[in-house]
């Protein structure tokens, strides 16, 4: 239950980044897992340099946001009018570049970022002992999701983004600089993954491949929750976390089977996802 909550919270955060990028830009970002990994490594470098976990989180998130913005400006922008296959190929290619760049710089040896001193050890929950930092992760992610919610639902930018998800042509015709919005959205979406990467670093050590598995899970979450839906990403993340965790307790070999079975079930019953408003063509 707790394991599922921690994993689900992380998946919710990463998926929310993926879903707002896809919902707004229509780009399926296969480099999202690599963003998660890059956030971890950027935070690791910051931690090595400063010894501060807080600075590591800030650096990891900001670095990936900047990386996302640069990616959008330099490459992704040129693919908005191209077929989906091209977008998939270019983001997949970028993810390979990022992973191999990290492998080249850091090697395959895993890197660890320790949790802050106040969050080490275990916390007695009455019925069991649980790692304190994992409980902290839930809190950190909850705050991050709240911040993302406020940006999306309580700011002018968020209003434009949500409008863009509904009808980007209309937003463009209203005189709003859609490309600037796209750039910011891509940066925020990437930042969500990078932030999750460094927050998760003390739980799992960093390796260049760490984004691959999380990418698959994230896509499933987005499909379950509803493509383009921020609340759907949160709900889908929490559901996926519980499915993976509970199945792992019974038979870990079937964790992914159950996850995909759940996704299939959702697609059969509600093709647009649990909280998806409409399907993209």
């Amino acid at each position: 239950m707790f394991n599922g909550l921690v994993l689900g919270a992380l998946l919710a955060l990463i998926s929310s980044g993926l879903t707002i990028i896809y919902g707004t830009l229509g780009v399926l970002n296969l480099a999202h897992g690599a963003m998660f990994m890059m956030g971890g490594y950027a935070g690791f470098l910051a931690f090595e340099a400063t010894g501060s976990f807080t600075l590591a989180i800030i650096s990891g998130a900001l670095f990936v946001m900047v990386l996302g913005i640069v990616m959008e400006r330099v490459i992704i922008r040129h693919f908005y009018g191209r077929p989906n296959e091209d977008q998939i190929l270019v983001t997949f290619g970028l993810s390979i570049v990022f992973v191999e760049a990290i492998r080249f710089c850091f090697g395959s040896l895993s890197r660890s970022v320790p949790p802050p001193a106040w969050a080490t050890g275990v916390t007695p929950l009455g019925f069991m002992l649980y790692p304190t930092y994992r409980l902290v992760v839930v809190g950190i992610v909850a705050v991050a999701l709240l911040a993302l919610y406020l940006v999306l639902y309580r700011t002018r930018l968020g209003m434009i983004v949500r409008a863009g998800i509904e009808d980007s042509v209309m937003v463009d015709s209203l005189g709003i600089n859609v490309f600037r919005v796209f750039m910011v959205v891509f940066g925020i979406g990437a930042m969500a993954a990078g932030f999750a990467g460094i927050v998760n670093a003390p739980v799992v050590s960093l390796t260049p491949d760490m984004g691959e598995m999380i990418l698959v899970q994230t896509f499933v979450v987005v499909v379950i929750g509803g493509v383009g839906s921020f609340p759907g990403a949160i709900l889908g993340g929490l559901i996926a976390g519980q499915i993976l965790s509970i199945t792992s307790m019974i038979n870990p070999g079937y964790a992914y089977v159950m996850l995909f079975a759940a996704m299939t079930l959702v697609l059969l019953i509600r093709p647009r996802g649990l909280l998806g408003l409409r399907s993209r063509d």
């Binding site: 994993l7 395959s108 895993s110 790692p131 799992v204 050590s205 390796t207 965790s245 307790m249």
Partner: protein, 452 residues
């Protein structure tokens, strides 16, 4: 398979042999010319990639290792060992000559070339990689491993394709046990010998009647190592297995397993996980407070483990391994190997690189001794039981199951304060002769199969 080589091949081989002989005489290696066992390709029927693979001035070796995924670190380490060995074989390095005395430069005068492919420790990928090397490059030798599931799959491929296979890292009893084949050999220690070596050490250090929890990866390596070590401790020491948590290879999270282990009341956690799985599960065992109440044991040591999890987590941890670099104090060839490896790569070698270096060096010796690349003749050299000089002293291959009879090394994680350098992670407690540790060759049901 029974076609003899054509007359033109025979003439080419004769001319080539003559040219090589001239070169060898000029290089001062003339003594090998008069070896009675030296034979040309025409003396043997075509088999596998023979004679096509060795018809030119070079021979090709196909290497598949995990360069990504759970065992990526160890795969890269293996590759370094292979590459150093090939470099030494081609240059006729003194270390190779000490292991393979007939080596001049290359193998039978032919330069060794190689190709590398990433298998992610997946058997299907490994088989595809090597199949491509066999069909496209006419590989005369194949290697790969790291995961015993890969080793077992490649065993079958080697036997089917009649291409010789030297196993990289593989700890499963099955590799030279029930899944053994005529066309492969293994150099490193494995579950059964690790258990027989480490078991008495654990009983002496901690006594009898303890409770043990196991964290076991769900494939042939994990199951056979867990079986071997638990059977020994339970039978000889009256230990009890309170839980055996079987987890999938490459599990991203060990929470559910560790919660069960934490609640099991065990005195010891024997973690059989390997590669990044070992790193992650040990780090998470610490997070869950398991290591505060249970003593960690690593039955089958993992290269780079100490560097990755940090020395604090392996202090006083017992393990069995095939090689640790401080063995250079005892074995002259180990000293040469450590110096050469460090010169090339800038750090002390771990046991995976050592195993892979030795496998290529011993293959070079077998081919040079056979005087041909014809696989059955090469295999017969391995099966001769001839003593070989190695970085772990004198060793030999058991003809019945193709397992190297070699020492098992018992190590214990050093206290951080006792480390004499940043790579001084393990203290070698004992180097145990291999032969008394090994079950009889037929105990695991090995049936090697045919030569042709």
């Amino acid at each position: 398979m029974t076609n003899r080589s054509s007359a033109s091949t025979s003439r080419r081989d004769f001319l080539r042999s003559t040219a090589l002989a001239g070169a060898a005489v000029a290089a001062g290696g003339g003594s090998s010319l008069f070896m009675p066992t030296r034979a040309s390709a025409a003396d043997y029927p075509a088999l596998g990639t023979f004679p096509a693979g060795s018809a030119g001035n070079s021979v090709f070796v196909g290497i598949t290792v995990p360069r990504t995924g759970t065992y990526a670190v160890q795969g890269e380490d293996e590759l370094k060992g292979y590459q150093l060995a090939i470099e030494h074989i081609n240059s006729g390095h003194p270390l190779i000559k000490a292991i393979s005395p007939k080596t001049t430069k290359g193998v039978l005068g032919k330069e060794v070339k190689y190709g590398v492919a990433d298998d992610e420790a997946k058997p299907n990928s490994a088989v595809q990689n090597i199949s491509r090397f066999i069909s496209e490059n006419k590989a005369v030798l194949m290697t790969g491993g790291t995961s015993s599931a890969v080793a077992v799959a490649l065993n079958k491929l080697a036997q089917r394709e009649k291409v010789f296979y030297v196993v990289g890292i593989s700890g499963s009893n099955d590799t030279t046990g029930k899944d053994c084949v005529r066309y492969s050999v293994r150099e490193c220690t494995y579950g059964q010998t690790a258990a027989a070596a480490l078991g008495p050490v654990l009983l002496k250090a901690f006594g009898k009647g303890k409770k043990a929890a196991y964290l076991t990866p769900d494939y042939t390596y994990g199951h056979t190592v867990q079986k071997s070590i638990s059977e020994y401790l339970n039978k000889e020491g009256g230990w009890t297995t309170v839980t055996n948590q079987v987890c999938p290879l490459g599990a991203p999270d060990y929470s559910s397993f560790l919660l069960n282990i934490s609640n099991s009341g065990a005195d010891f956690l024997l973690n059989i996980n390997w590669g990044h799985d070992a790193v992650l599960s040990i780090q998470q065992a610490k997070q869950f407070g398991v290591l505060d109440k249970q003593k960690l044991v690593i039955p089958y040591q993992v290269p780079f483990l100490a560097r990755e999890v940090g020395q604090a987590l392996i202090e006083d941890v017992y393990a069995c391994t095939s090689f640790w670099w401080t063995m250079e104090d005892k074995y002259p060839l180990a000293k040469m190997f450590v110096a050469e490896f460090e010169k090339k790569y800038g750090y002390k070698p771990e046991w995976g690189a050592n195993t892979c270096y030795m496998q290529f060096a011993m293959w070079a010796n077998a081919v040079e001794t056979a005087g041909t690349f014809y696989p059955p003749e090469v295999i017969k050299v391995y099966e001769s039981g001839a003593k070989l000089q190695s970085t772990s002293g004198e060793v030999y291959f058991r003809p019945e199951d193709h397992q190297l009879v070699r020492p098992c090394v018992i190590v214990r994680g050093k206290k951080t304060a006792a480390m004499k350098g940043k790579e001084d992670h393990w203290e070698v407690l004992d180097i145990l002769p291999g032969e008394p540790l090994m079950d009889k060759p037929d105990a695991a049901g090995c049936k090697l199969g045919d030569y042709t």
